[in-house]
């Protein structure tokens, strides 16, 4: 029957009427099989039902029990629909579906009526693909981390356990990883969490499926918005658009979190390993790492006996804890773990503060060891009739050629690092300066400088520096390196040679490394001044051309 239009119907909005006709009288229908019964259902009703069943499925999870529950619910819906058909309904429409949803209840209504078995906060989080990382308290050896990982990646936990144990013996880093996971991954306490833990496998299929579901929600929201009165009024629509936007953003956010989380995790883990390697380089676990040099400067800061280095512990805490937090943040982002563990926060905060106190205290103590500086000076005037003084290096220092054991990679200002019998030693590099004497005598001034807790201790430290030249007639042999004692207190040594005007010196090639700021009239660099004769004139050292002699260093 064609609906007649009475004149009183005018004026009406033709556009609106058209839409109405489209919606009311010309709808696509689908044929569905719901729990073994066939129904004709309107397109929009189908989508509503589909979304509802999806929500229900996600609410209950996806293990065997959940499947059964959802099947029962579907059977019941099918029964309600069959009743409608019996009463003369031909096509299931949206109002029938809405009615069914009211009868069966939305997931929220169901969880309100369910017994308190879900998470204690009553909140439920749904994860992309339905599976979340939990620790499994029912299958655990320590914290249930391995079995949780097993569930997450669908691997037998035994394999993961073996993997962890092997890694532990291979370097110990897995122990750290286990601890971190133990702390950060929540335990699957409630049924809902256990369902999520064993939930739908995460793969491309399930991810694309869940994205489709999310998109379905978005579409639905959008449709609701279009048919809602707010659309017509064009007011208060911001909320609806907002909801749709929120869902789109949620999908993007999920992807973004993983993209950000992975570098967090990697950077944090690498930095933590490097930190530990640097701090505990002397221990063998990290010494094997190729990119970390096995030199621990910390060892040289402490007086012998205080082997347990508090500074190391302090540094480990103060730098390590932010790195651990970075790793935790990464893991949380990647696995979308939502925990708000206040205890953990205060533990980390407390440890961090303890670290700072340790640093302040032990740093203060150690700094105190550097508070005073003293120089011990030794003047030695020599009288020689010789016109030319020969200067060369003192080799070997009797027993040990220090330069041969120097590590070329570790070069500090006044010292180098050498390796002697598997132990690091510090090798001091002296300075050799040459100046014009004010009188007619050659003067050798040795300066040994050191820091210490007080002046006497600084003096003792300075006197302990083994830096002594040898002289025989006109030949002076100067050590180009000296071994520093076990405790580094910024020891330095230098030798100043004052040459009277008129005398000539020969600088042997072996002195290249210790010549420091030697002024000369040709403005030659220190390292270029060797293998040459220089005559002291009132204006400074003047280059003299003479045959290069064969200088042999003095030996003790």
């Amino acid at each position: 029957m064609i609906r007649g239009i009475s004149p009183t119907d005018f004026p009406i909005n033709i556009e609106q009427e058209k839409t109405k006709i489209n919606n009311k009288y010309m709808k696509k229908t689908l044929t569905i099989n719901l729990s073994g019964s066939v129904f004709h259902i309107d397109d929009d009703a189908y989508e509503r039902l589909y979304t509802y069943l999806n929500k229900i499925t996600r609410h209950f999870g996806s293990d065997q029990d959940a499947k059964e529950i959802v099947e029962d619910i579907e059977a019941r819906i099918s029964e309600i629909f069959a009743e409608k058909i019996k009463n003369g309904v031909e096509v299931i429409n949206i109002s029938h579906v809405e009615e069914v949803i009211v009868i069966m209840g939305t997931p929220e209504a169901i969880s309100n009526e369910e017994e308190e078995k879900a998470s204690p906060t009553g909140k439920k989080y749904y994860r992309m693909g339905g599976r979340r990382l939990y620790r499994d308290p029912e299958d655990k050896i320590l914290g249930g981390v391995c079995s949780g990982l097993g569930s997450y990646f669908s691997i037998d936990p035994v394999i993961i356990r073996i993997f962890f144990v092997l890694l532990f013996f291979a370097g110990g880093s897995s122990f750290l990883a286990y601890l971190i996971l133990w702390i950060v991954v929540p335990k699957a306490n409630s049924t809902a969490q256990r369902l999520e833990m064993k939930g739908e496998e995460v793969n491309i299929d399930s991810i694309s499926k869940s994205i489709k579901e999310e998109m379905q929600d978005v579409k639905e929201n959008f449709r609701n918005y279009r048919t809602s009165p707010t659309y017509a009024h064009g007011r208060n629509g911001i909320n609806e658009v907002g909801n749709t936007l929120v869902q789109v953003l949620k999908i993007l956010g999920t992807i973004l979190l993983v993209i950000i989380g992975i570098p967090f995790l990697i950077v944090g883990a690498v930095a933590l390993i490097v930190l530990f390697a640097l701090l505990f380089a002397s221990s063998h676990i990290f010494g094997a790492l190729p990119f970390v040099h096995g030199f621990n400067f910390m060892d040289f800061l402490y007086t012998p006996g205080s082997t347990l280095s508090w500074i190391t512990i302090g540094l480990a805490l103060v730098i390590g804890i932010p790195l651990v937090l970075l790793i935790l943040a990464g893991i949380k982002m990647i696995f979308r773990i939502k925990t708000n563990n206040h205890i953990m926060g205060s533990v980390f905060g407390g440890l961090f503060l303890i670290g700072i106190f340790i640093l302040l205290f032990s740093g203060g103590t150690t700094l105190g060891e550097f508070s005073k500086q003293t120089t011990v000076t030794n003047h030695d005037k020599i009288t020689t009739s010789a016109d030319t003084i020969f200067l060369c290096a003192k080799k070997g220092q009797g027993e040990l050629d220090l330069e041969s054991i120097v590590d070329p990679d570790l070069n500090f200002n006044h010292f180098k690092v050498g390796n002697l019998d598997g132990k690091d030693i510090l090798i001091g590099i002296p300075e050799l300066r040459i100046e014009r004497a004010d009188d007619s005598e050659i003067e050798l001034i040795t300066n040994k400088t050191s820091r210490g807790m007080n002046i006497p201790s600084a003096r003792t430290n300075a006197e302990n520096i083994q830096f002594n030249y040898l002289r025989k007639d006109s030949l002076i042999s100067i050590p180009t390196s000296y071994q520093l004692p076990k405790v580094w207190r910024n020891q330095r040594a230098n030798l100043k040679i004052k040459i009277p005007v008129g005398k000539t010196i020969y600088l042997d090639n072996s002195l290249k490394s210790i010549l420091t700021d030697v002024k000369n009239t040709t403005d030659m660099y220190d390292e270029d001044m060797v293998n040459k004769y220089w005559t002291m004139k009132p204006e400074g050292l003047v280059l003299v051309n003479r045959a290069i002699p064969n200088v042999k260093p003095l030996k003790k």
Binding site: S37, I56, I69, D72, M104, I110, E113, E114, E115, E116
Partner: protein, 109 residues
């Protein structure tokens, strides 16, 4: 404190007992159980019942069999198992105790 919430909590606590009680008379299928529970105003939405039935079944208190129906697909008929009957007996005692306890509190001067 929310009054509706408190009421809901009370009902939740005895929902299991109610289901067992309903099934103790004769085997029923889900819709029948729902009907009785709704009449007694024990549940509002039907979706609540199914997880409970599944859990009771998995715990061994209920069993079910499929029965052909005149209209539509076969139905699941639930009935009490032996363990279920023992469980129900326990709950009966517990309920009686509760009633007595409440009665005492109410009549206390």
């Amino acid at each position: 404190m929310n009054i509706d919430n408190s009421k809901a909590q009370m009902r939740k606590g005895i929902l299991e007992y109610c289901i067992l009680l309903i099934l103790s008379k004769k085997p029923l299928y889900a819709s029948d159980i729902i009907g009785e529970l709704k009449d007694a105003q024990m549940i509002v939405v039907e979706g609540t019942l199914y997880p409970l039935l599944t859990r009771l079944k998995n715990d061994g208190y209920l069993s079910y069999r499929w029965e052909e129906s005149l209209q539509g697909p076969p139905r699941k008929y639930y009935e009490l198992s032996e363990a279920g009957e023992k469980f129900l007996a326990e709950l009966e005692i517990s309920w009686s105790e509760l009633v007595i306890a409440i009665q005492q509190l109410r009549t206390r001067v």
